[in-house]
Structures are given as structure tokens and as C-alpha cells.
């Protein structure tokens, strides 16, 4: 349906953000996904988060691989450049793009097939490099465009639409990311916008690799009885562990938080994440505890959600810190600073005479 131009009608009463833009400025072309697809809700959450953050649209870069999820980068922020890479290899495009210009915000949208099978290596290495990007997995447990094969995130015992039962253990991107040292690891549900929007805001502003694994039911191939990634199953089995609120730099902390229950973590640009515990025993800044909690819930078929882990101490340096690149983007450096000229060449060649 992308050939139908989406009418840009702006109602005068629509609210404006700090840039004077309405939410319409953060939308993209019409979605061609199935009606009711979880991915469309995630797209709406991204639109909302970008609007709330007052992001300059051109300062966002949208990246994706191949699959239903990867189509969605066309459906939000039409004022941002998008790069739809080959299957499973969005992370390397993001790495190169970020290397060239560290000043922009990078959001990658991928699926469970794109990330956990063909793209598993690149996903792991983007985490290892602590690339400053928000990586969203729209996780539905199936391959939609090829009509319903299990993906690597399908749970043991989950039944396919045609009746087959999955017997191989799933790869859990959250556990994997925790293990690889990702500094920001979250899980959410496409049906819980209240939880998801602040996570996206925080993930975009966080200065390192941020993963949000979003359970996003496939209404066509994986929304039936016996599936562990259906709307009904997910609603029943998901448990928010911690609430994360995103507080922009300009805004003072609200006094509503009961003392002792809220923990504030500053991000590099002065904005803050306020974490509120739900279970008394959960500490989202303790990686081992977070890992144990996810493992424990996983065994009983529960989804622990929220900002599961945040590296408050900043243990791993970000990609550009490791590479000691200058503050100015590499793609903006004047040629004179890059090329040593004929005198420089003569000096270099002296030892080859």
C-alpha cells in the first residue's frame, strides 16, 4: 500500500513538541503489514518516543535487515534516512554509519529471524563493540514472509499453525545480551505502550548499545492456541519487573516517587532514567541477578519485562572511546587534516629509497 500517499493533514489542535512539531512529523509511509500486527504498535511507540524527545528528524538514522520487522523503518520518521540492508546484516551497516558520523542517533529494527539466526554473529559483535545505537527486536517466534516456519526464538513446546511442535531450545536475546556485556537490556510487549515508549526514549538517549526485545505477536502465523508468542499467551504470562521512566534533561524530577523506591540514573546528555522496582528483590543494575531472574522466569514460561539491566557504572567503553576518534564526525574532517601532501609523501618514502 506504500503507493498510496499518506495524507499529511495536521489538525490545529494536535500538540506540538519543543521543536514545534506534531506527531505527524514523525510518521512514515503507510504500513503494509497485516492488520493487527504487533510491529505496527511498536512503530507507533517509536513515533511517540521520537516526538516526545523532540528529535530533529534528520538526526535519526533508521536501519534494518530483511523480514516483516525490517520493513517498518519506512513507517516512521520519514524525515530520517533509512537503510534496509541485506538479511541479518543491519548491525554492520550501523557500525560503519556510526563510525562515519557519531553525532546522529541510530535505531535498528530487526526480527527474531534476522537477528537470532542469519544475523546472530553481527548482533553479538555490535554488542561487543558497544556501538551507540538502539537495537529493537520485533520478536514473534516465526518467519512471516516465508509463511510460518519456526524461528530461533520459538519456545520448546510451542505449536506452529500447521500443528508441528518445536523441540529445540530457543535463543533468548536478552540472556545473550546480558552475557555479552550489553549495558542496556530491556524486554517489552508490543501491547504495552506505557512500558515501551519510555524504554525507547531511554534507549535512544543512552550512550551505548541498547537492546529492547519486544514480544510482537504475528497475527497471521503465530497467534493461535498453543503458541507461546500469541497476544493471549503474552498478556497472561508477562510480568513487569521494573518500571523505567525517561526524564528529559530540561524536566525536573517529579516528586511523585516514594522515597527509597525510585533510583535515578543519569545519561550522558543530562537526561535521566528513573527506575521503580515492582518486586522488592529485583535490582536492575546487578547483572548476575538480572540474568538469574530472567532464567528463572523463562523456565516457567513467564516473560520478565521492563528495563532488565542497566549498567549504571559504565563498565565498557563505547565504540568511539575505544577507537579514540575525535569529537567531530569522521565524515566532516577537512581533507587537509587527512592527507599529508607532497612534503609528507617525501618524508614517508625516505625509508623506501
Amino acid at each position: 500500500m506504500t503507493f498510496i500517499a499518506k495524507p499529511k493533514v495536521t489538525h490545529p489542535s494536535l500538540p506540538h513538541n519543543a521543536l514545534g512539531l506534531t506527531r505527524r512529523a514523525y510518521e512514515g509511509v503507510l504500513s503494509t503489514l497485516c492488520a493487527g500486527c504487533g510491529h505496527d504498535s511498536i512503530t507507533a511507540a517509536i513515533v511517540e518516543a521520537c516526538w516526545r524527545l523532540s528529535l530533529e528528524p534528520q538526526n535519526l538514522v533508521k536501519l534494518s535487515g530483511i523480514g516483516c520487522s525490517s520493513k517498518t523503518t519506512a513507517y516512521f520518521v520519514s524525515g530520517a534516512h533509512g537503510f534496509n540492508a541485506v538479511h541479518g546484516r543491519m548491525a554492520s551497516i550501523a557500525t560503519g554509519a556510526n563510525a562515519a558520523n557519531r553525532r546522529l542517533s541510530y535505531i535498528g529494527v530487526s526480527g527474531d529471524g534476522d537477528t537470532l539466526s542469519i544475523g546472530l554473529g553481527q548482533f553479538c559483535h555490535a554488542i561487543r563493540r558497544n556501538l551507540d545505537m538502539l537495537y529493537i527486536i520485533e520478536n514473534n517466534g516465526v518467519y512471516g514472509l516465508t509463511k510460518g516456519q519456526f524461528s530461533a526464538s520459538a519456545d520448546i513446546g510451542s505449536r506452529a499453525k500447521k500443528g508441528e511442535t518445536n523441540r529445540q531450545p530457543p535463543i533468548d536475546p536478552v540472556l545473550l545480551a546480558l552475557d555479552l556485556g550489553a549495558p542496556f537490556v530491556a524486554r517489552s510487549f508490543s501491547g504495552d505502550k506505557r512500558q515501551l515508549v519510555p524504554l525507547i526514549e531511554a534507549g535512544l538517549k543512552h550512550g551505548g548499545f541498547a537492546l529492547i526485545d519486544v514480544l510482537s505477536p504475528c497475527v497471521t502465523f503465530n497467534d493461535h492456541e498453543g503458541s507461546t508468542k500469541s497476544y493471549a499467551y503474552t498478556r497472561e504470562h508477562y510480568e513487569p519487573a521494573v518500571l523505567a521512566d525517561f526524564v528529559p534533561r530540561e524536566q525536573p524530577i517529579s516528586v511523585d516517587y516514594p522515597p527509597g523506591e525510585a533510583r535515578e540514573i543519569a545519561l550522558h546528555d543530562g537526561s535521566r532514567i528513573v527506575l521503580r522496582k515492582i518486586g522488592a528483590d529485583y535490582d536492575p543494575t546487578d547483572r548476575a541477578a538480572a540474568d538469574a531472574a530472567v532464567q528463572a522466569r523463562g523456565g516457567s514460561g513467564e516473560y520478565l519485562t521492563g528495563l532488565i539491566y542497566l549498567d549504571a557504572a559504565g563498565r565498557h567503553p563505547e565504540f568511539h572511546q575505544v577507537n579514540a576518534t575525535p569529537e567531530a564526525p569522521l565524515n566532516s574532517l577537512p581533507f587537509e587534516q587527512l592527507s599529508p601532501g607532497s612534503a609528507g609523501l617525501r618524508t614517508v618514502l625516505a625509508r623506501y629509497r
Binding site: H81, N84, R89, G96, S342, Y352
Partner: protein, 642 residues
């Protein structure tokens, strides 16, 4: 061999075991000859191994400036007993063999038509140095000393060279000099020195440098302003990336902050390396990777995306021997087809074919300009011979007026003046669309995709819209034809021509000079880029018979020529050398002569057929079959067809 006048005109081959440190001795010999003003070439035939396997180093001294392998060896330095038998066999009649006589081998090393020179290298070093490692290392320097006596090399020049290497470590300088003196004095005392093969001072190296192609290409990347380098280690491309990093750490550090004006990313594999290059180039940085055949195979899918979505990229392919893992430390031109047509669907890529380190430097710079001007990948197709061997080339020049051609990238002002930006239009009629960079203006945004898209950049499955873009890409290909480096043509008027590519150039040029001396005149064309220009078409049409000399089994250049030009296949005659060693001038001469002087209607392609190599004394059949100067195939071997 006539020894009458071999002054400044002979080949030395040094047979050792890898990992014993012979490289510094060989470099020392090369440089001391080079600094005597005598043209010299060095080629390293090394194993894919860290320590313990046979390795050879060939030094050709050529007063006429020929830098190819001649195809014969006049002086063999046989220091590896494992390869004694084949090393003795390879020596030309009348040649000289230097070996370590600490362990005398009169029978094994004897041949009626050679002179054996035994120098007790190990004994001399064991008596004068302590420590196992030092003794092994000094044994190499000691043979350099022996050669200095035999070839009449200037010992003071050798001292100067050692001083440049060990300037800050006087003890090392002294021990090296001692080893030189030991070899020198012993040899001069026991043998008539110098040999008829010797080095006499000339002035033919002024304005030249000795450098390998990977270092030269890396330097080109620095000077072209490349800022993002992503790669996965693979022989023989690794030294290109190492050199880039080394140069950048010297030339690209912000003097005030210490910040590095480059990003050097070791990727998880070649799939990621090319992805990083595309991401960076799409985002406005000059970015490149270096790899070899297996890496090109892995990069295929992304190269197709870059072609179709029109993303610049520079890829250096330092070819090695295939198929599959092949022989990673040997040279070949086996990726000509896989580079030209990398990826599925209708894809063709611009390829540049440097012939020596000088062209590696120039073409590296040109590759970035072409990639950005034409918004497409450019592959610089080099090989191990160029990339890792030391070549004598003219000193590189740099024009300070040079500024990068960033191609059609819209400025903020241009974007602001537009009603709406569309990515894949052809407003200038050259098939090249305008592009924009992220972060400039929301109006400039577009969606880059490898899926079907129309000229506005939107997704499409419409037949006409899809085909419109594909046809425009073909127009861009025609523009590329006009912009890539021209083929070089030497000679005119003969009805016979020869075409070569890349590292085969030096052997062909020497062969043509030798053939001319025998009354056979042949016109020469060296292809320097793909797509081929008009001049290639004209050259092929203008000759009755055309030899195509290349270093692979399947005549890949000939295939490209028949696919991409109107040439009649029957008039092309292949000279194929694919043993993994660089082609020699002798192979070309023999192949051409067999055809032009052979029986009428022979019409055969010619292949190099190296004799099978037996281990020392273990393969009598191979030994019996092999003849001295074994690069010349026997007449029976010359009549195979493709």
C-alpha cells in the same frame, strides 16, 4: 649459461626454512644492490605456516631494469637440506651453488655442470656467537656476507644499511656486522672472488623506491582521505591494513587532543567488513576494506546491494591461489570473473588492475574518486606478487592541488532549493543520480534498499518502474566506461597482438623485448580497468591473432574479453600460468614462439606445466623427469588446449 657477461644480470635464489629470520638477510642483500644503482627485484615464495617449512627468496639483478622473473636461476643458496635435490636441479647449467659445508654433502649436491661453493656457515656462527636463536639468525647474515664477497657487494654500504635498521641498538649492529665479516672473509679466502656474476655500480635506480604493493595501496588510502577501514584478517591482504594503521598512527593523530582521525575496525568476518564499509560510505566517509578470494566470495551479497542501491565502496582484492582455501601464500589472477560479476542478478563492478606498487598507490586514490563519482563499489584487483613482494618502482608523486571527487552529493543549499528530493532520477543524463547524506535536512531523507525500487526511491514491484531503474544503471555503466583508466598500448603495425593484465605486465614486456631481438614483433595492450574502453575493442579488432597472457587456469581474462567485446573467440590464444609462482618472461617467450614458429595450424593454447616436486631423494621419477631450468614446458606439454 654463458658466464661471459653476467655482470648485473642474473638471478639468485635462496632456499631456507621459514621462521629462521632469513627475511632480514634477503632485504639487506636487495637494498645493497639497489643502492649500488643496479635495478633489482625480490620475490618471496613462502609457505602458509609460521615455522619450519621450506621457503625461497628470489633476487633478480637486471641491468636492463626487468623486474619479472627471468625463469632461470644462476646462483642458488641452498640452506635447506629438505629441498637440496630440487634446488640443485633448478640451477641453470654453468651456475653456482652456495651451501652450508658444516655438513659436507658432496654427492647430493654434485652436478657436472655447476660450481659448488661450500661455506661452513653454522660452524662459523657456532664458534663466534652464543645462544641458539642468535646462531640461527646470524647464520643468515653470514650467508649475506658470503654473497657480498662472491658478488662484489660494497661492505661499507651493508654496514650503513645495518646502521639504519639497528641504529638504536649498537650491539645488534656489531653482531650483524661480525656475521657479515665472517662470511665475507671465509669466502674470499677460499674461493676466487668475485664470480663472473657480480654487481657493478650503475646509476639506474635514481628516482626509484623499493616497496611492496600493499604498502603502496595503504598509502594511497591515507592520501585519498579514507577515514573508515574495516576488514577481516586474510593472507595476503593483511599487510595492506597493517600498513594503513601504521601510517595513520603516524600521520593522522590530532596534535592537540591525540584523537585518531580514522576508525580501524577488525570485523567479525568479511560479511561484516563490507557492511561496515557500505554503512560508512553511505554516511559520507571514504571507507574501504582489503581481502582476498575467500573474502570476495563472502562479500558477494553486499556487493550486489551496493551496486543496486548505489552505495560507494572501495575493496582491495589481493588475489591468492584458489579455488577454496587454495594456497594462501602463492599468487594467482583467479578472481577476475568473480570480481567483475560479484553477486546474483545483473551486476557488474568497476575493477582496476594495478600492475605494480606504483599503480597500487595511484589506483587506490582513483578508486575512491570513481566509487564516489559513480556511486558504486570499485574493486582494486591486485595479487600476492604485487602486494607482498618488493618492487623497484618510480618514486610516487603527489599533486597538492588534488581534492577528492565526492561526486553528486547535494549541499544543504541545493536541498533547500528543491521542492522534493528523489534519489534515483537521472537529471544529468549520465546515469548518475544525486544523493544526500543523513543529518543534513529532513527533506533530503530517502530509503536505501536492495529490494525493488523506482526512480523516486520508493518500493516497487511494478515491471516498468523496476526496469527503468535497471536501464538507468546500464547508462551509468556506459559513463563508467569513459571514466576508468585506459588500457595501455605499446607498439603498432604488427598483425599479432598480446594482451595481459596486472602483475603479468613485467614478464610480458621483457618477453616482447626478447622476441623483438629474435625478429618477432608483437603489439601489446595491458588492460587496466573493467569495463573495457573503446581502445580494447579496437586493439582486438585490429590484430589477426591475439595472445592473452594471464595467471589462472580457465582463461578468465579471455572470457571477459569475449563476453564484453565483439572479438572473435577463435583469434584469441591463451598463455596460462597458474602454478602459484609469478609468471616468468621465459614462459611468455616460449609460448609465443611455439605458436608463431610452430607447425602451421597448431592453434593451441599454452599452459605452464611445472614438474612435480619430490622431497629430497624420495621421488626418483620426478627427479628423472625434471630438467634444469624447469620452467620451460617440454614440447609435448605445449599442445594442450583449453
Amino acid at each position: 649459461m654463458t658466464t661471459a657477461n653476467r655482470v648485473n644480470d642474473f638471478t639468485i635464489k635462496i632456499a631456507t626454512v621459514n621462521g629462521t629470520g632469513s627475511a632480514s638477510a634477503n632485504t639487506l642483500l636487495m637494498k645493497s644492490i639497489f643502492r649500488s644503482g643496479v635495478p633489482v627485484m625480490g620475490k618471496n615464495f613462502f609457505p602458509s605456516n609460521i615455522q619450519g617449512l621450506p621457503t625461497w627468496y628470489e633476487i633478480r639483478v637486471s641491468r636492463d631494469g626487468h623486474v619479472a622473473r627471468s625463469g632461470t636461476v644462476e646462483l642458488m643458496v641452498a640452506l635447506n637440506p629438505e629441498t637440496y635435490a630440487r634446488d640443485v636441479r633448478e640451477l641453470a647449467p654453468g651456475g653456482y651453488l652456495l651451501y652450508d659445508s658444516t655438513w659436507p654433502r658432496p654427492v647430493l649436491l654434485s652436478r657436472a655442470d655447476i660450481t659448488v661453493i661450500g661455506v661452513p656457515l653454522a660452524k662459523l656462527c657456532n664458534e663466534n656467537f652464543t645462544g641458539v636463536r642468535t646462531r640461527i639468525l646470524m647464520k643468515n647474515i653470514c650467508y649475506a656476507g658470503a654473497l657480498a664477497a662472491l658478488l662484489n657487494l660494497d661492505v661499507e654500504r651493508i654496514r650503513d644499511l645495518l646502521g639504519e635498521t639497528y641504529g638504536r641498538k649498537p650491539q645488534l649492529l656489531e653482531s650483524n656486522m661480525k656475521a657479515i665479516t665472517l662470511g665475507f672473509e671465509y669466502t674470499r679466502a677460499h674461493f676466487p672472488c668475485p664470480l663472473p656474476l657480480s654487481v657493478e655500480r650503475m646509476d639506474r635506480t635514481a628516482g626509484h623506491i623499493m616497496i611492496d604493493g600493499n604498502t603502496a595501496a595503504a598509502l594511497g588510502c591515507v592520501f585519498a582521505g579514507a577515514t573508515v577501514a574495516a576488514w577481516y584478517p586474510i593472507t595476503p591482504s593483511t599487510s595492506l591494513m597493517d600498513a594503513f594503521k601504521r601510517f595513520c598512527e603516524r600521520l593522522r593523530i590530532d596534535p592537540d587532543t591525540g584523537a585518531k582521525r580514522f576508525a580501524f575496525i577488525q570485523a567479525e568476518d568479511e560479511l561484516a567488513a563490507i557492511g561496515m564499509v557500505l554503512g560508512a560510505a553511505w554516511n559520507g566517509a571514504r571507507a574501504f576494506t582489503a581481502t582476498s578470494g575467500p573474502g570476495i566470495s563472502l562479500m558477494n551479497e553486499f556487493l550486489g546491494l551496493a551496486y543496486y542501491a548505489e552505495v560507494p565502496a572501495v575493496v582491495f582484492d589481493i588475489q591468492r591461489v584458489g579455488p577454496s582455501t587454495g594456497m594462501p601464500t602463492r599468487t594467482q589472477q583467479g578472481d577476475l570473473l568473480s570480481c567483475a560479476y560479484a553477486s546474483h542478478g545483473d551486476t557488474r563492478h568497476i575493477c582496476l588492475y594495478p600492475a605494480d606498487p606504483g599503480e597500487c598507490f595511484e589506483m587506490a586514490v582513483e578508486a575512491f574518486d570513481l566509487a564516489e563519482r559513480l556511486q558504486t563499489p570499485v574493486l582494486v584487483v591486485s595479487d600476492l606478487d604485487i602486494g607482498m613482494n618488493d618492487w623497484m618502482v618510480r618514486e610516487f608523486q603527489w599533486d597538492d592541488a588534488y581534492r577528492p571527487d565526492r561526486g553528486k552529493v547535494m549541499t544543504l543549499e541545493q536541498i533547500e532549493s528543491l521542492e522534493k528530493f528523489h534519489r534515483y532520477l537521472d537529471p544529468d543524463g549520465d546515469g548518475i543520480p544525486w544523493r544526500t547524506l543523513p543529518g543534513v535536512h529532513p527533506k533530503a531523507a530517502y530509503f536505501t534498499r536492495g529490494s525493488g525500487h523506482n526512480q523516486f526511491g520508493a518500493y516497487t514491484e511494478d515491471a516498468a518502474e523496476y526496469q527503468q531503474v535497471l536501464d538507468r544503471l546500464l547508462r551509468k555503466w556506459q559513463t563508467a566506461r569513459q571514466r576508468v583508466p585506459r588500457a595501455l598500448i605499446d607498439g603498432e603495425g604488427s598483425e599479432i597482438g598480446i594482451v595481459s593484465i596486472g602483475s603479468g605486465d613485467s614478464a610480458v614486456r621483457e618477453a616482447l623485448a626478447l622476441l623483438r631481438a629474435q625478429g618477432v614483433a608483437i603489439d601489446y595492450l595491458r588492460v587496466r580497468a573493467f569495463p573495457f574502453g573503446e581502445e580494447v575493442e579496437r586493439f582486438l579488432a585490429g590484430h589477426r591473432q591475439v595472445f592473452v597472457a594471464e595467471q589462472n587456469r580457465d582463461a578468465q581474462l579471455r572470457s571477459l574479453l569475449t563476453l564484453e567485446t565483439a572479438v572473435e573467440k577463435a583469434k584469441l590464444r591463451s598463455l596460462l600460468h597458474y602454478s602459484g609462482l609469478p609468471v616468468s618472461s621465459r614462459f611468455i617467450v616460449d609460448g609465443v614462439l611455439a605458436e608463431v614458429r610452430g607447425p602451421a595450424g597448431a592453434n593451441h593454447d599454452r599452459r605452464d606445466r611445472p614438474a612435480p616436486e619430490g622431497r629430497a631423494g624420495s621421488d626418483a621419477a620426478a627427479e628423472a623427469a625434471a630438467m634444469p631450468g624447469r620452467e620451460a614446458p617440454s614440447p609435448a606439454q605445449a599442445t594442450t588446449t583449453v
